[in-house]
Symmetry: C2
Subunit: 406 residues, 2 copies
């Protein structure tokens, strides 16, 4: 059995790297703080006798040898990057629980059949470089490496420059590192497990997600001298689109969600009518057909708003993640691992995207969820209990060993 | 008579300091570019035999002696700072036309009775440090110097730090520099003169203006996992307020204008429901009673929106400029100066605030407007014709000499 105290202590200690006054973590991908946690992660894994490979996307693979080196490793993992105002558990729990599994195996001198691998995927959050889950996505062949390296953040820094900047553009060609299965532990980031008083979610798939970039262009002019009738206010257009996005999600209740998360106003000055606004849209639903309908409604809304105000509108879909169904054998390993430990559980879909969403395309994959307080995530107040973190790590260990001895 | 070609050349040459690819100027107050234009301005004035005093707010006063040193100078002036995406004429025309007047007097060896003063007021735009027209406002005693120096930009840099940073915190106590009248030439920044085919606006006053800061606080959470019903989306609240501000202005047609010019979203990440939004409101109207009614409507809108979505709202009025009526003698000097030169003109109110708005509180003041293309200002495409710039400078010279020989 794993050591829940050691896991908790490791969570709390590493939360200092990028720790915020409000108790969260700001450790945005490929910043110097990300470099610090990566350096720490590498040292800890090497101390357990693992070899650590780094690919050209900065994905980190720590491998503990097994009895047989003719079979690909069984992987665990998640991400160590956070949102700008992220919590202490999102992603981090999956990596550090994997580390706790490695430590437990190491303490016991336990020899698995397959090698065991622990992965830290690059840029899961997508907060700095969109799309999210990019390291895993390129690994799985869903995005071309060249395209990914050329993506820039809002300051114009490319992903490749950022990788080189912190010394984490490794020499292993991305996608070359193989594994035979992947298990990801994560906080649910939603309210379901908590509401039902269950410790473990056996995740059978992930809902679909589509992201859009929109730029509205009107005419900058003086707020004091430009009569209301002569305005082409890009921000008024953005405001209407924000309402439309909300309404589109409500129109596909109860499962649809829709959000504008980012807005940039130009020139963003008190006495200038905004001439240009950039905004992002995030739509999610378990069914592709509904996402399709939401997209059609978004296009209609953009046209309508642009027409009303006299704006030019550019928009494009920047991410399209179809709904994912996880592997039956991996799900079964999680189910048995949960029963073995005796935790209350339920089967469920993931509302958020995860690295596992993409690894599912190339290897048998499943996920384990644990509850988080008030279903709150992407918030510095994000919280999970000591007991639930331990439960998640235990089920991760059990599932990996179950899969190994299948 | 002034030399319109020399004026135009000076406008175009100095537009290089902070010149933008789109033909505008980005010369935000107290940046290094502002320092460059100030250095240039000082050298040019000194070359004409003027003494240049700088006060603790960075306001620059160039004085050309007159026959009598027992009477306070007649001032001309405006501002050399610009919006982040400003045009080549807003403010700059008033200062450089004043310089052209000085050059003309110098070339002719003309001796005025009163000394003539040319002023470059600090931070007229208010784009970096709100409120706008701050240098003139402190000079006029409407804002306390300590309060003004403590104002910070959105990066937390105080006005005093910024003044010291570019070496323009002068040693003359602010408010000590006296003048007996002030004439400000400015582009109209609105569509009226152009529509009527007139070259000169004889400005009899300034409409009232109120500015507000609003912060809406909801709850940051994950866009993929947070059901629509459990959201407290601060950006949805901001969107509704933007609509309300527009509606409040329309409800007080035809003279009211209302604008949200600045929006800052936190954390501004695609997959985080915005937890906090800061936005600014700008209301204008020629009558205080209507501004009062607009403010009441704004308060009701904030309460309504916060209630609908479950947000906390903080708001405060950061600027209150009552309507201003200019001095009859100064207006008469402008009127006669216009007739003398034979330009088509009309009397009008200013839609925008100007340094003259504040100097009117301490000295007889009036303004001269010239048309700008499509009424467009606070835009890099802002434009005024060679002929109209020359006409404005000529009327400025005429008005000053008329007032001097009254
Ligand atoms: N789990 C998580 O927050 N992933 C980021 C991608 C998403 O927004 O779903
Ligand atoms: N003229 C001008 O743009 N002044 C800035 C203050 C205002 O917004 O009216």
């Amino acid at each position: 059995t794993i050591d829940p105290q050691r896991l908790w202590d490791t969570l709390m200690e590493t939360a200092q790297i990028g720790g915020t006054p409000k108790g969260g973590i700001c450790r945005v991908t490929l910043t110097d703080l990300d470099r610090q946690i990566r350096d720490w992660f590498r040292v800890e894994c090497e101390a357990l006798g693992c070899s650590v490979g780094i690919d050209t996307m900065g994905n980190m693979f720590a491998v503990r040898p097994g009895k047989r080196d003719d079979i690909a490793p069984i992987a665990m993992g998640s991400h160590l990057d956070t949102q700008p105002t992220g919590g202490k558990f999102d992603g981090v729990l999956g990596v550090l629980a994997g580390l706790e599994v490695m430590r437990t195996l190491h303490d016991l001198g336990y020899e698995t059949n397959a090698p065991i691998m622990l992965v830290n995927w690059t840029n899961e959050e997508g907060a700095r470089f969109a799309p999210s889950m990019l390291g895993a996505g390129v690994h799985a062949g869903l995005y071309a490496p060249d395209m990914a390296e050329a993506i820039t953040d809002r300051d114009g820094v490319s992903l490749r420059e950022a990788l080189e900047g912190i010394g984490y553009r490794g020499d292993v060609p991305v996608g070359q590192t193989r594994f035979s299965a992947m298990f990801e532990l994560h906080i649910e980031q939603g309210p379901i497990l908590e509401a039902e008083g269950k410790s473990i979610g056996i995740v059978t798939g992930v809902q679909g997600m589509r992201w859009y970039d929109i730029t509205l262009t009107g005419r900058e002019s003086h707020t004091g001298t430009t009569p209301m009738k002569l305005r082409r206010n890009a921000l008024l257009g953005a405001a209407r689109l924000i309402e439309h996005v909300d309404a589109i999600a409500h129109a596909h209740a109860p499962h649809a969600v829709g959000t504008v998360g980012m807005v940039e106003v130009r020139p963003n000055s008190r006495n200038v009518i905004p001439g240009e606004v950039f905004l992002t849209v995030d739509f999610r639903h378990p069914e592709t057909a509904v996402l399709e309908a939401m997209e059609t409604a978004l296009h209609q809304a953009i046209d309508a708003v642009a027409g009303e105000i006299g704006l030019a509108a550019e928009h494009r879909r920047v991410t399209d993640n179809p709904p994912v169904v996880f592997d039956t054998d991996c799900i079964e390993a999680v189910r048995r691992g949960t029963q073995q430990a005796g935790y209350e559980s339920r089967e469920m879909l993931s509302g958020a995207g995860h690295d596992a969403t993409y690894t599912a395309a190339i290897a048998p994959t499943a996920m384990i969820f644990v509850p988080c307080e008030n279903g709150l995530s992407h918030n510095e107040a994000e919280n999970a209990t000591f007991a639930d973190c331990g439960a998640g790590a235990q089920v991760l260990l059990n599932a990996v060993l179950d899969y190994d001895t299948r």
